[in-house]
């Protein structure tokens, strides 16, 4: 069952991603992005990352994409978008490069389950135990506020900086 769902979500994600890249209208691109995000959130759920799935939808799709939309609307784009996509040689070249990369990567990922990297980590069972003990949020919160608390605080400061920066940059000259 999970497999079927996984394939469905993957297909949606990939399909919307491709559509995203090829639409002329930036608003259309954006909406397809939202769909992709939702599909990926679904995959997260399948991987037992419930909190992240929620955050993905709320923050990423709900806030960041809305921000994008605000900006698109603010700049009044969406009228003359004929020249938006490069064509001809560019497309071919990009396709070749990107396709080659995809091929190489795909080839590399065969047999990932047998990778020796598995020896260094706790293993899948640890998550299930914690999940049962603390619930979906607690599973993230516990390492976040113990092991990674410094990074957490720094991220807070980063966000502050980002807010100030964005304000300063986007301010109209008064």
């Amino acid at each position: 069952m999970a497999y079927i769902l996984f394939y469905v979500f993957s297909a949606v994600a990939l399909g919307c991603a491709i559509l995203l890249v090829t639409r002329k209208n930036p608003v259309a691109s954006l909406l397809y992005m939202v769909m992709t995000l939702a599909a990926v959130a679904g995959i997260y759920v399948l991987f037992e990352a419930h909190f992240l799935a929620a955050i993905q939808v709320i923050v990423y799709a709900g806030a960041i994409m809305v921000l994008f939309l605000f900006v698109i609307m603010l700049l009044n784009l969406g009228h003359d978008y004929r020249q938006d996509i490069r064509g001809g040689v560019w497309a071919v070249l990009a396709f070749v490069v990107v396709g080659a990369t995809a091929g190489v990567l795909a080839r590399q990922f065969r047999g990932a389950e047998a990778s020796p990297v598995f020896d260094y980590f706790q293993g899948a069972g640890a998550i299930d135990a914690m999940l049962a003990e603390r619930g979906a949020v607690g599973v993230i919160a516990q390492p976040l506020f113990t092991h990674y608390v410094v990074a957490f605080e720094l991220t807070g400061i980063l966000l502050l900086v980002a807010v100030v920066g964005a304000l300063a940059l986007a301010k109209r000259k008064v």
Binding site: R86, W90, L93, A94, V97, V98, A100, T101, V104, L105, R107, Q108
Partner: protein, 722 residues
């Protein structure tokens, strides 16, 4: 300046003290370095005066005007000091040479005396010293050079007195004497070569002395360039000699030569032929004689000194100096003689048809140099050098005499503003009324050069022809017969053209013109006294080398006249080795003519023949009706060919000069501008093109940079994955 001079004098003094031996045994040279340095000092002083006078003189030279003080007023310092410095230093040098000569007469010298002054070059295997060699041969040359030079310097005082560049002239003349003395006194090939090149250079600056005239400066260039072609042969010969002997000092080479080199071998033949090439350039023989007639563009005393008495004899001296090598290479010696004889005849025929008095004398010089070459080529070194000496006397006399004539004619034409050529014999005639001393002395020289007893030329020319004929009995006999015939023919033609010159210039009617004739006058004493001295030498100068047989016959007054075989004995130590080698390998010659008859008979025959030719020519030419140059018809037929010097200059131009110019142009336009500049510029263009290609990547758009990022990632992934 005085410091080096004092140093040398001191050194000489010390040498004198040290080398003084019992009288009559050792020859101790007296200030040999000073002999060379005096003319150099003269050059420096006169040069300084010339520089001081330069502003005044150069304006006059440029505009061709005369100097202001000539019309009256005192001559400035710069124009009367050279009168004393110029001839003075050479006269002093001559005096010192005389002292050395008397000392050498008293001593019995068997080995040359070498005086080292300093080490010039020393690089391991190759070492050359600045050294002078004093032996009988160099002594003869020194006497001739300084003596005749002195007389010509004195003559120049009168001849060049009105020239704006007076101090410059004497500076150059003194420099020339310096280099010529270096040449004849050098103890090794490089020192000789310094003198060799130096006289070539001085020839250039003196021929092109009136450099504002394009033709004259071109003549100077021609002389230098043609000389250089010969110098190439000389240099290659020097290289060959160095690689064979490991040294370039004369004494060492000539000592080692008989053992090191095979008689008639390829190596020594090559050496001598290359040396011959050098000699033909310097001594104006076929094929490099073409510069000498053009060299008449220089002042006449220059022609007398350089192109009659001294520089052109350098080739003969060089062959005589390297006599050992030429004796070891019979082909080399034969070539020398053959070229000499051919040139003698060739030039004599050209001289028959020339109208410019100096050109006749120029071709005469070339012809007489041919005689000297025949002399040293057949192994008669004493005879060759003897003819060199007598030729210096009578040719210098002829040139100076013609200088007096030209001086007078120039004055006459100048006063009447006539633009005719003062050197053209067709404009002269009957000058003996106006210039009796010149006329008399020039006749003496003419008789001498024609080989009439008892004048100097008779003895020297006669001996050469005799020795050439004597060798017809040995190997290559046929060639020597040819040489003998050519020499005889040339002798006859010499008499013809010289008599023609005298008759056209001094006898008959005066063609100069009524007004001009009033201004014709004898030369001032500064000019005719040297003529007289040279005439004396031309008469009696030949009496120092009379073979015993002739001396004892009626030609020598049955032994009563003060003649002797002195020079032959004097030069014997120098020519001994060469003569021995020749006697050992080719046979002993010189006392029997293969055509029968003794020396006396042939001598009498030749002098009578010469006399007859002179009288006949005088009669014939005297009977010609000669018009002034402006009215004369151009030469036709064979006479035209002779007048145009067999078109040799034109032939050289088309065969050598024009192809060289074309090759030069090709090298310039195609190779240098086209290929070399093209490559260099092309490299620049290439760099720019590379830069342009690089610039194509800098589009400024993010997509491009992202693409390259992606390609980079792909590459890294590929490397990691595969």
């Amino acid at each position: 300046m005085t410091l080096p001079l004092t140093f040398f004098a001191l050194q000489e003094g010390i040498e004198i003290q040290a080398a003084h031996g019992p009288a009559g045994e050792a020859f101790s040279p007296f200030l040999p370095g000073v002999i060379i340095l005096l003319p150099l000092l003269g050059f420096l002083l006169n040069g300084a005066l010339a520089l001081a006078a330069s502003r005044r003189s150069s304006a006059a030279v440029r505009e061709g005007t005369e100097l202001d003080f000539l019309e009256g007023g005192r001559r400035p310092l710069t124009h009367w000091l050279p009168t004393w410095i110029g001839p003075g230093v050479v006269g002093l040098a001559f005096a010192i040479v005389l002292v050395n000569f008397t000392r050498m007469l008293g001593a019995e010298l068997h080995e040359p005396i070498i005086r080292h002054y300093w080490t010039w070059m020393n690089t391991g295997a190759f070492s050359v010293d600045a050294a002078l060699q004093l032996d009988q041969l160099s002594m003869v040359m020194m006497l001739v050079v300084t003596g005749v030079s002195f007389l010509i310097h004195v003559f120049s005082v009168g001849y060049m007195g009105e020239d704006p560049g007076y101090p410059r002239y004497f500076a150059y003349l003194n420099l020339f004497v310096f280099f010529m003395l270096t040449l004849v006194m050098g103890a090794s090939f490089p020192v000789l070569f310094v003198g060799w090149e130096g006289v070539g250079f001085c020839s250039y600056i003196l021929i092109g002395y009136w450099f504002t005239d394009r033709e004259k400066s071109d003549a100077g260039k021609k002389a230098f360039v043609v000389n250089r072609i010969g110098d190439f042969g000389f240099l290659v010969a020097m290289l060959l000699i160095f690689t064979t002997f490991g040294t370039l000092n004369f004494v060492e080479i000539f000592e080692a030569a008989p053992e090191t080199l095979a008689y008639g071998g390829g190596l020594v033949t090559a050496m001598t032929l290359l040396l011959l090439l050098g000699a033909t350039g310097k001594s104006a023989q076929i094929p490099l004689y073409v510069w000498l007639p053009d060299a008449m563009a220089g002042p006449t005393p220059v022609s007398a000194l350089i192109h009659a008495a001294t520089m052109v004899t350098a080739g003969v001296y060089m062959v005589a100096r390297t006599s050992v090598l030429f004796a070891l290479a019979p082909v080399g010696g034969l070539s020398v003689a053959l070229i000499g004889a051919a040139t003698a005849l060739f030039a004599a025929t050209i001289g028959l048809a020339q109208y410019d008095i100096k050109k006749v004398l120029a071709y005469s010089t070339i012809s007489q140099l041919g005689y000297m070459f025949v002399g040293v080529g057949v192994g008669a070194y004493a005879a060759g050098i003897f003819h060199l000496m007598t030729h210096a006397f009578f040719k210098a006399l002829l040139f100076l005499g013609s200088g007096a004539v030209i001086h007078s004619m120039h004055h006459a034409f100048h006063h009447t503003h006539n633009h005719a050529d003062p050197q053209d014999m067709r404009n002269m005639g009957g000058l003996r009324r106006f210039m009796p001393i010149t006329w008399l002395t020039m006749w003496v020289a003419t008789l001498a050069i024609s080989g009439i007893w008892p004048f100097a030329g008779f003895f020297s020319k006669d001996e050469i022809i005799w020795m050439a004929g004597a060798r017809a009995a040995g190997s290559y006999g046929g060639w020597f017969v040819l040489i003998w015939v050519m020499a005889l023919a040339a002798a006859m033609i010499t008499a013809v053209y010289m008599t023609r010159l005298m008759v056209m210039t001094f006898h008959g009617e005066n063609r100069t013109g009524q007004d001009e004739a009033r201004h014709l006058h004898e030369a001032p004493w500064v000019m005719w006294v040297p003529l007289a001295i040279l005439a004396f030498l031309a008469i009696f100068g030949g009496w120092v080398n009379v073979p015993l047989e002739i001396h004892d016959s009626f030609l020598g007054g049955y032994g009563l006249l003060p003649m002797s075989e002195w020079m032959h004995e004097w030069l014997h130590p120098v020519a001994a080795v060469a003569t021995e080698i020749q006697a050992a390998n080719a046979g002993d010659f010189g006392h029997l003519s293969p055509f029968g008859g003794g020396e006396v008979m042939w001598a009498v025959l030749s002098t009578l023949l010469a006399l007859v030719v002179v009288l006949a020519t005088a009669r014939v030419v005297g009977g010609f009706r000669i018009l002034p140059a402006a009215d004369s018809a151009a030469a036709e037929g064979f006479k035209k060919v002779l007048f145009r010097k067999y078109y040799v200059d034109e032939i050289y131009d088309s065969i050598v000069v024009q192809p060289l110019i074309r090759a030069s142009r090709f090298a310039w336009k195609v190779v240098d501008q086209g290929i070399v500049d093209g490559i260099v510029n092309g490299l620049g263009h290439f760099a720019r093109a590379l830069g342009w290609i690089g610039s194509l990547f800098q589009t400024g758009t993010v997509n491009t940079y992202a693409l390259f990022l992606a390609i980079g990632v792909l590459v890294i992934l590929g490397v990691v994955a595969f």
